[in-house]
């Protein structure tokens, strides 16, 4: 299968404009004849559903939560990037593009990233017009701050609740369309399969999570905006419900899955506190603007109270190793540096798995009130969880799984290798390469939904001229039967282990063998263990209750069943990529100073995996990464 990225020709800066002109249009009066199915109601899904409905398409939107407003985009704290250059500090579309490509360790598609930087400015305008209450200066103009991996202030924010406010903006736009009858909303509904007819995605099969009823929905196109797969690690900063099922089931229907090994480990999370832990909590990266990261210089000081360790005995290791970026070094680098000092036995807190994030200098310089104004809600959250007051003692933080750069492979039009199936936001692989910079996820989700898909989906309708699908088609019936069979199987095993215990074991295995650093032996061991664990799941899981009712245990079992398969692809991808880049750190490939060692000669490509059947090895397809504008260089933040 040749992977055609459909990147337009011409100079980088003109590609998107040229492409928009070349895209075929659907007559306004004809748009209502096209049914679009949108799965997911986060930033990407809600913005796409609202924008498509505004254009006149007939939209159905699905989410598993009780309201579209709950999607996990809501938890993003820090901010959203845009190349507005309001601060006059040298920002530009080109610089945002450059930072994002470099931040992604030269493993992202150049044309997509440039477009992202271009539309970033429109996103801010759109959100302001919707009433997103961004932070303001006294003159009434928009305020900015700097964020990890950037040397300009281009991040727009709404206190520590930027994701919430942006999502509420998109949710309100969606609700407006629901009120107008242009979008039909299906909350508490989970997608269980993509239906393919004549090689095109023509609908989905869903389960009503309240009644257990399984229904079919036909559409002229299917849009997946279902987020990332971080919960395969069991412990992550993702919401409990986040899962890989939609993109995984699409993968099994022919949509290639790209770069699953690129997972982001976020440096500033609250450390794990015990086996009971159900999820990890992120502390916004913006804290690194004013907090200083350190550990004791000597191991024997680790058990002392931080206030008892004098300045001279502290190692501000990020400032020492990366003087020009200091505490603002990108996420992958900061996370690895934290792991390194903890591996040296210099970690603090229970189990030695933590580093200090210290605000005492900022409080001295700015006063406690300013610090409270900037980060008050984060300090409160930290105190709720740990019982410690970070105004008096330094926070303790440790890296945790946070974001999935990998995802469904899509072309420049955001269409997967399954025609008619579009994938947006974190669910696709496209813009962040091997590492995502702070404040870029919100930007990408909204770019895809507001400003890319509404243009490209019309081109698909206008050029593919597919027959109108019917939900009575035999393919729908077949999918429903398969789903019923799987559900019955899950409910009939009645084994000895809970879904949670199996999920936790899988997550622990992945964190150890395919977490912050990976090596060949560990990955091979994981690849042996995962099928055993999957086997155990299908023989020994205990799923209570019935299908025809609200059954959270059954929902969860279905998601974990998919994680059990997906985990193998993740490790396989990590094993095959014999280089270190971004969030993928292979111990065999590092410089003498312990930095990631890329191999551009052999690995400058997107690894897109094709499903070939149960218990068969997936086939690797490569999309070469060709840089017309940028020169691949070694990332340095020193």
């Amino acid at each position: 299968m040749p992977l055609d990225s459909k990147t337009p020709s011409g100079p980088l800066a003109q590609k998107w404009d040229k492409h928009k002109f070349d895209l075929k249009l659907v007559n306004p009066a004809n748009k209502r004849k096209f049914d679009v199915i949108v799965v997911g109601s986060g930033l990407a899904g809600a913005s796409a559903a609202a924008s498509l409905a505004e254009l006149g398409y007939a939209v159905k939107c699905f989410c598993f939560q009780d309201s579209p407003r709950r999607a996990h985009s809501i938890a993003a704290q820090g901010g959203i990037n845009a190349a507005k250059n309001y601060q006059n500090d040298g920002d530009s579309i080109y610089r945002l593009f450059y930072d994002t490509i470099k931040g992604g360790d030269f493993r992202a598609r150049e044309s997509n990233v440039y477009r992202l930087a271009q539309v970033s400015v429109n996103i801010i305008d759109q959100c302001v017009a919707q009433g997103v209450p961004f932070a303001r200066e006294y003159g009434g103009l928009l305020a900015n701050r700097s964020f990890g991996g950037a040397q300009v202030s281009r991040t727009f924010y709404a206190r520590g609740q930027t994701g919430q406010q942006l999502l509420l903006g998109a949710y309100q736009a969606l609700c407006r369309q629901i009120g107008l009858g242009a979008v039909e909303m299906f909350p508490r509904t989970e997608m269980l399969d993509v239906v393919v007819i004549d090689g095109h995605a023509k609908g989905i099969v869903v389960r009503n999570l309240v009644t257990g009823e399984i229904t079919c929905h036909a559409g002229d196109a299917v849009v997946l905006a279902t987020g990332g797969y971080g919960n395969v690690f069991f412990l992550s900063t993702n919401a409990k419900g986040c899962n890989v099922s939609a993109t995984w089931r699409a993968y099994k229907k022919g949509a290639l899955f790209a770069n699953p090994c690129y997972t982001q480990i976020h440096p500033t999370c609250i450390p794990v506190r015990g086996e009971h832990q159900s999820k990890l909590t992120l502390m916004s990266e913006s804290l690194r603007n004013d907090g200083r990261v350190w550990v004791p210089r000597r191991r024997e000081d680790c058990l002392k109270a931080p206030s008892a360790i004098p300045e001279a005995d502290r190692d501000y290791y990020l400032e020492r190793k990366y003087p020009s970026y200091g505490n603002l070094a990108p996420r992958d680098i900061s996370s690895r540096a934290a792991k390194e000092v903890c591996d040296e036995g210099r970690g603090v807190g229970p189990g030695g798995l933590g580093v200090y994030l210290d605000f005492s200098d900022a409080i001295k310089r700015l006063g406690q009130n300013v610090v409270r104004e900037r980060y008050g809600n984060l300090f409160e959250m930290y105190e709720n969880i740990t019982g410690e007051n970070a105004y008096h003692v330094p926070m303790r933080i440790f890296p945790a799984v946070h974001y999935a750069m990998g995802g469904t492979w899509v072309d420049y039009n955001l269409m997967s290798t399954l025609p008619g199936l579009f994938v947006l936001g974190e669910a696709n692989f496209s813009d962040h390469g091997a590492n995502r910079l702070g404040a870029s996820a919100l930007m990408q989700g909204l770019a895809d939904g507001y400003f890319v898909l509404p243009y490209t989906i019309g081109n698909y309708f206008a050029s593919s001229k597919q027959a109108k699908p019917s939900s009575n088609h035999s393919e729908f019936k077949k999918c429903v039967e398969n789903i019923r069979a799987q559900t019955n199987k899950l409910l009939s095993i009645k084994g000895k282990r809970t879904v949670t215990s199996l999920h936790r074991e899988l997550g622990k295995l992945l964190w150890e063998k395919c977490g912050m650093s990976r090596n060949e032996a560990g990955l091979k061991a994981a690849l042996l263990r995962i099928p055993e664990l999957r086997d155990e799941f299908w023989k020994n899981v205990n799923v209570t209750g019935e299908n025809g009712e609200l059954n959270q245990n059954l929902e969860y079992a279905g998601r974990v069943a998919d994680f059990m398969e997906f985990a193998e692809l993740l490790c396989l991808d990590a094993l095959h990529r014999r280089e270190s880049c971004g969030g993928h750190f292979r111990e065999e490939f590092q410089t003498a100073e312990g930095e990631a060692l890329r191999d551009d000669e052999h690995f400058a490509y997107v690894a897109a995996w094709e499903y070939t059947g149960p218990n068969k090895a997936p086939v690797l397809h490569k999309e070469p990464l060709v840089y017309e504008e940028m020169h691949m260089s070694t990332r340095s933040y020193k």
């Binding site: 924008s51 928009l142 709720n384 400003f451 959270q552």
Partner: protein, 248 residues
């Protein structure tokens, strides 16, 4: 610590519910309240019993999915804290804890501790937005917003739509929720153009959903996990009165 739980169990919307007693063992003070319930559910599943159904998602206090009336108080009574951020260090060994769903006519029970809060979505669909289509927005800095307005608007916009305000109110009134959205949007210059229609449409939908009236007991403000101020209700009443005068 060891606790005794009295938990509302109800098989479906139409079934009769009752309080059932469970023992929660090996609970650590570092656990969140929901992690404590996870432990109880793991034990129930292992015994082949039906786990307790409750809503949660982000578990960091922002998505608004979690609920629970704990010992009679929505979200458990720790100021500015949603249930998912309530930790067991706020309880003592040997405590008996009663756990119930939100109780309000407009929030029917779905199962056990889960209620249907879709009435809130319908109120937003009736007017809780600024009517602007994608594209064609002016430059972000073309609309200066005084810092004070932006801050006040943000205070109101912090609402997570959990419904605790309704659950605690003796009238099951949704005034704090609706007023928070009205204030968020009506305080901004962008929201001024349709502010009269917005407040009228939202209040009409609120009444149609069966929420009660406000008698200013301020219990909503006390339990709101985002500490939304009661003053937003005054702002809404003001805007509503003006809109009624203007639009009739």
């Amino acid at each position: 610590m060891e606790l005794t739980l009295k938990v509302w169990r109800q098989k479906s919307a139409t079934a009769t519910g009752s309080l059932e007693t469970y023992e929660a063992k090996n609970i650590l003070e570092d656990m969140s309240f929901l992690e404590m319930l996870d432990v109880v559910n793991e034990a129930l599943i292992s015994q082949g019993a039906e786990p307790i159904a409750f809503d949660s998602d982000c578990r960091e206090g922002i998505c608004g999915m979690c609920s629970l009336v704990i010992n009679g108080i929505p979200h458990g009574g720790k100021r500015g804290t949603a249930t998912c951020q309530l930790h067991m260090r706020n309880f003592k060994d040997g405590d008996t804890i009663t756990i119930e769903p939100w109780r309000a006519r407009a929030f029917p029970v779905v199962r056990d501790l889960i209620t249907d809060r879709s009435a809130f979505d319908r109120i937003i669909s009736a007017g809780g937005f600024i009517s602007v289509n994608t594209g064609g927005a002016p430059d972000g800095n073309a609309i200066p917003v005084p810092k004070e307005s932006a801050e006040k608007s943000m205070d109101a916009a912090a609402c997570i739509g959990c419904g605790a305000c309704v659950a605690v109110c003796k009238n099951a009134s949704a005034m704090l929720f609706v007023a928070a959205k009205v204030s968020h949007l009506n305080l901004l210059p962008q929201g001024k153009a349709e502010k009269d229609h917005r407040v009228g449409n939202m209040v009409r939908q609120m009444d149609a959903e069966g929420f009660g009236n406000c008698t200013v007991t301020a219990s909503c403000e006390a339990v709101c996990p985002k500490e939304i101020s009661l003053s937003v209700i005054a702002k809404m009443n003001h805007d509503y009165a003006l809109a009624t005068l203007k639009l009739g």
